[in-house]
């Protein structure tokens, strides 16, 4: 070992404590050439560790969350479009099938007293308005949860 110089890899591995061979330390004490190279690596690594981490001129979280929110909005409108398409199609199918029965349905209502008709339609409209309002409210809550205040994290991770 004393006659042959240590390789660059061995010097680095010893410096970074990736190898603990006793012979390396002994050789470094005896060999001026290897000691000088080892010290150069020591200085180099020490200096590298002092370099401040690089940053961007923009705020990463803001830029990323803008992109995520716009992606979510696009996805949400795509889903909404599909939902409306399916609903309209369903309505058309129902209308198509019920068309032959319209005179019969109409005859049922015309046979009923005016008050019963009023009560029936009034209740139906009330239930329909209530359901639409409830769906709209749920949709607004969900929308706020997804898009509201996305730039500031609200969850705090436990300190480790």
């Amino acid at each position: 070992m004393k006659n042959e110089h240590l390789t660059e890899e061995t010097l680095q591995a010893f410096l970074l404590k990736e190898t603990q061979e006793d012979g390396i330390a002994t050789h470094l004490l005896a060999c001026e050439n290897c000691r000088a190279r080892f010290e150069n690596y020591q200085h180099l690594v020490a200096e590298i560790q002092k370099i401040a981490p690089e940053t961007f001129s923009f705020d990463v979280t803001t830029v990323v969350m803008d992109k995520i929110v716009s992606y979510e909005r696009k996805e949400s409108s795509k889903q909404e479009l599909i939902l409306w398409g399916v609903l309209i199609l369903l309505l058309l199918v129902i209308l198509g099938f019920s068309l032959p029965f319209v005179p019969q349905i109409f005859s049922i209502f015309s046979a009923m007293p005016l008050f019963s008709n009023f009560l029936l339609f009034g209740t139906s409209i009330f239930v329909l308005v209530f359901l639409i309002a409830d769906i709209y409210k749920a949709h607004k809550i969900e929308e706020k949860k997804i898009f509201g205040n996305n730039l500031q994290p609200t969850i705090h991770l436990p300190v480790q």
Binding site: E8, V63, M65, K67
Partner: protein, 184 residues
């Protein structure tokens, strides 16, 4: 233990995001932006492209979050997405990630014990400049190992390279830096 805690937090966080809480993804970004910044900044130089790259990296992570199986730390997984996305970008730009710039043979001489603040700052500038001359992959590996202080195993998971290759590349990169910077 720390790793288990990390995984537990990662699991909770992912569950929240997948449950529809998009805000929780900002926590993931905050936790990993330093690592992603180092990878993108070390491998690319165009500021406009860097912004697009960062957005694409996190969008990919967001879109594929449901496929993340917690086999590694969430930060390692995002680091891997960052590395792959950046390598793809470099390939499209036909920029080699492992080619040495042979024109640069300047050797800087630095004092071993820089005393004044000015000399210290200059020393760091010279080393930074020398690191910047390295091929993108070497720069990234030096940064991940020495600045981010990641173990070789984690760097291997980020770069999809065997640990032995990483050790060898790091040794070569350090040798280039040592040879280009002379201490007196």
């Amino acid at each position: 233990m720390g790793n288990e805690n990390n995984h537990f937090s990662d699991r909770e966080l992912i569950a929240k995001i997948l449950g529809g809480n998009t805000q929780a993804f900002a926590v993931v970004v905050k936790d990993t932006e330093k690592l992603v910044t180092q990878i993108v900044r070390k491998m690319t130089t165009n500021a406009d492209d860097q912004k697009d790259l960062v957005q694409n990296i996190y969008l990919k992570a967001y879109q594929n979050l449901s496929s993340f199986q917690l086999k590694s730390k969430l930060s390692t997984w995002i680091g891997n997405i960052a590395y792959n996305t950046t390598v793809n970008y470099l390939q499209k730009q036909k920029i080699p990630i492992l080619e040495l710039d042979t024109k640069l043979e300047t050797k800087f001489a630095l004092t071993e014990n820089p005393e004044s603040e000015a000399i210290r700052a200059e020393t760091l500038e010279i080393i930074q400049a020398e690191i910047d001359k390295l091929p993108p992959l070497y720069k990234t590996l030096i940064t991940l190992y020495h600045l981010e202080e990641l173990p070789n195993k984690e760097i291997a998971a980020i770069t999809n390279l065997p640990e032995g290759t990483i050790k060898s590349y790091l040794a070569r990169a350090r040798k280039i830096l040592k040879d280009n910077i002379r201490y007196f």
